[in-house]
């Protein structure tokens, strides 16, 4: 029983950065911008969050600078996608390289340095006393709760508010949105920036709560798994919660199976193989239900052009 609780606790922690990244990418893609650079924005958020926390001993300040770092890098993608009308796939790859590269440079002196302070668990009075569920869901670090709240909030904004309608209409049919007087460029800029902030948050979560130290490449492909989870979630933040925590479980599975004598490199493959499997399942569902990506995803919008 204790083992199951501990496994599920770790699942929650491992799933949180994936959830944050996925919700951000959903917001970005809903506005029609495809940003493949999550891996880079995450890495940058992770090292900026780490180094600021290390220097100032203030994890909240570290968190916010990490979030901002992701957002600023996303603005470069927004500029290339919106103003320069560049190929978004290519720009996203460049963002991934830039973010990972800069993170490696900034982090070189921090390798192996432990973080003096971090976000630790906060028990929610009352709820944390519920047997089984309490220790898993209600005795977590504050960022875990923030992640869930942000996912629900993102769902609410996207589907229940005027802003959400604007974002989605820009992603589905920018020309019609433009005709209705929506500032298409601004909506895309903001959505991309917010998506980048979420990726920065996800990265900062890695260094400030998940594993309070820095090693190069610690994002370990999570940024790419996020892209897959966005498809799995069908661009719906609530479904992203499900997907992210399933993947959190896959992450933890590696450590559970390790004592069974399965070689570590083989276990390390599991998240990537599961990603492919999940994409397979989603692809079938998409075909059956005729679901799909925002219609204008990845296409440049040119005002006034036929």
């Amino acid at each position: 029983m204790n083992l199951i609780i501990s496994i599920l606790q770790r699942t929650m922690v491992a799933g949180t950065p994936l959830l944050l990244g996925t919700v951000g990418e959903i917001i970005t893609e809903r506005s029609g911008i495809l940003n493949l650079g999550i891996e880079g924005m995450m890495a940058l958020g992770a090292i900026v969050g780490f180094s600021v926390t290390y220097t100032t001993k203030n994890p909240v300040l570290g968190l916010f600078t990490g979030i901002l770092a992701g957002g600023v890098l996303a603005l470069l993608h927004a500029f290339v996608s919106i103003n320069i009308r560049g190929i978004q796939t290519l720009s996203g790859l460049a963002i991934a390289m830039i973010g990972s590269g800069l993170a490696g440079m900034l982090g070189k002196n921090y390798i192996g340095v432990p973080l003096p302070t971090r976000f630790s668990e906060v028990a929610i009075p009352g709820l944390s006393k519920i047997p089984f569920i309490g220790p898993i869901l209600f005795n977590r670090d504050p960022l875990f709760y923030t992640g869930i709240i942000l996912a629900v909030l993102a769902w609410f904004i996207l589907f229940k508010t005027r802003w959400g309608i604007n974002i989605r209409s820009v992603g589905e049919n920018p020309k019609a949105a433009d005709a209705l007087g929506i500032n298409v460029g601004l909506v895309k800029y903001l959505s991309t920036f917010i998506g980048g902030c979420f990726a920065g948050f996800a990265g900062a979560y890695l260094t400030l709560a998940y594993m309070p130290s820095w090693i190069e490449g610690m994002t370990g492909g999570r940024g790419w798994i996020v892209i897959a989870l966005t498809i799995f979630a069908q661009w719906d933040p609530l479904r992203a919660i499900l997907g992210a925590y399933i993947f959190g479980g896959v992450d933890v599975l590696q450590y559970i199976l390790q004592p069974l004598g399965i070689p570590v490199p083989i276990l390390k493959m599991t998240p990537y193989i599961v990603t492919l499997i999940i994409l397979l399942i989603t692809a079938r569902e998409i075909m059956r239900k005729h679901l799909g990506a925002p219609k204008a995803l990845g296409e440049p919008f040119i005002k006034g052009e036929k």
Binding site: R85, L93, A103, W224, I273
Partner: protein, 355 residues
């Protein structure tokens, strides 16, 4: 005041070439500013990179050594990118090619001469890479799975697989516990140009691949179909192009060439299979920029492969002399890609300001 952006009609060759070269120049200068992050004068770092790669006979030899796999992979990527298939998986395809040829080197090599071993290694290397490129092609055309994610996941899987082999069943008995396979027998290693790490055969294959890819794209029916499908998928649909067949052929070539690059690395440079990061050196990612910098032109790719070969060598130099981490070059390359895209914008559009 009114600012508008208009598409340029006719663009003279001279104008587009000037803007292109200028954008690369500006890209390199501005990208150098990232070195300020570690308190190093960007012009000094920039100078170090180019002195290290093109400033000495040794540097030039190393530059060519690294340009060979970049060129091979970029030629394959050009084929895929022309058909708008985003193959980000060259790193994995390279590793699987290297793995297949390692098997031949260790099991067939010791009892056979180089005359059969070497060609066999290149053939299975091509097959290995091609098979690994075949997977995302089928996933895309049959099931609609995004090829970017599929190829990336396959990169990670290939890395872990090679790691498994060199730490596990293939770990060499003569390597003092290092995660290497046994060294290849002499019949399975490539002869090098004296005083360099350039192997004749890989260099020749790389140059032949330039001609073959050029011919394939410009002169064959499949090449034509790939171009049409890449430029206008709707038109391609009506003209009856077999997308499934086309994508698979494209990816067999793309993956196969990356696989050959893998053979060149293990048989020519390392002479055993080792850590995945060391075998691939991230060539699969750098080659994406090589291909785009060459504007998907197979001939121009020779120049851009040399250019990026130089940057990688320079990257090693600033790593050892200025203490930069290896990843620095990733950031540098990423910025170059962004600036080249901005340069493209100015060849395609003009900004008009009216009062």
């Amino acid at each position: 005041m009114h600012i508008s952006i208009e598409k340029r009609g006719y663009v003279s060759k001279r104008y587009s070439t000037t803007v292109y070269l200028l954008s690369i120049f500006v890209a390199v200068i501005i990208s150098s500013f990232i070195f300020l992050l570690r308190g190093v004068n960007p012009f000094y770092a920039f100078y170090k990179i180019f002195q290290g790669s093109f400033g000495s006979a040794f540097g030039i030899k190393e530059t060519i050594t690294k340009a060979i796999p970049l060129l091979l992979i970029a030629e394959g990527l050009i084929v895929a990118f022309k058909g708008k298939f985003w193959n980000i998986g060259a790193n994995g395809q390279l590793l699987i090619g290297a793995t297949f040829s390692t098997w031949i080197a260790l099991n067939y090599g010791p009892t056979h001469s180089a005359i059969t071993t070497i060609p066999l290694m290149f053939i299975v290397g091509f097959i290995g890479g091609a098979l690994y490129g075949f997977i995302p092609a089928v996933l895309k055309v049959k099931l609609g799975i995004n090829e970017i994610i599929a190829t990336l996941m396959l990169n990670y899987i290939a890395e872990d697989f090679v790691e498994y082999l060199v730490y596990g069943p293939w770990k060499g008995k003569t390597q003092y516990g290092f995660p290497y396979t046994d060294n290849f027998p002499p019949s399975a290693t490539l002869a090098q140009i004296p005083g360099t790490r350039i192997s004749y055969i890989t260099l020749i294959i790389a140059l032949v691949s330039v001609v073959v890819v050029y011919y394939f794209i410009e002169k064959t029916k499949y090449g034509f179909e790939i171009k049409v499908a890449g430029e206008n998928p709707h038109a391609a649909e009506y003209s009856g192009i077999d997308f499934i067949k086309m994508t698979i052929i494209m990816m067999l070539i793309s993956g196969g060439l990356a696989g050959i690059a893998g053979v060149g690395e293990v048989a020519g440079i390392h002479r055993h299979l080792t850590y995945p990061a060391q075998v691939s050196s991230g060539y699969g990612y750098t080659a994406i920029i090589v291909a785009w910098l060459a504007q998907l032109n197979p001939i121009l790719a020779v120049v851009s492969a040399l250019f990026f070969g130089g940057i990688l060598v320079g990257g090693d130099v600033i790593q050892t002399s200025l203490g930069f981490p290896f990843s620095t070059i990733n950031a540098f390359n990423g910025f170059i890609l962004i600036f080249v895209m901005i340069g493209n914008f100015f060849t395609e559009y003009k900004i008009k300001i009216r009062r």
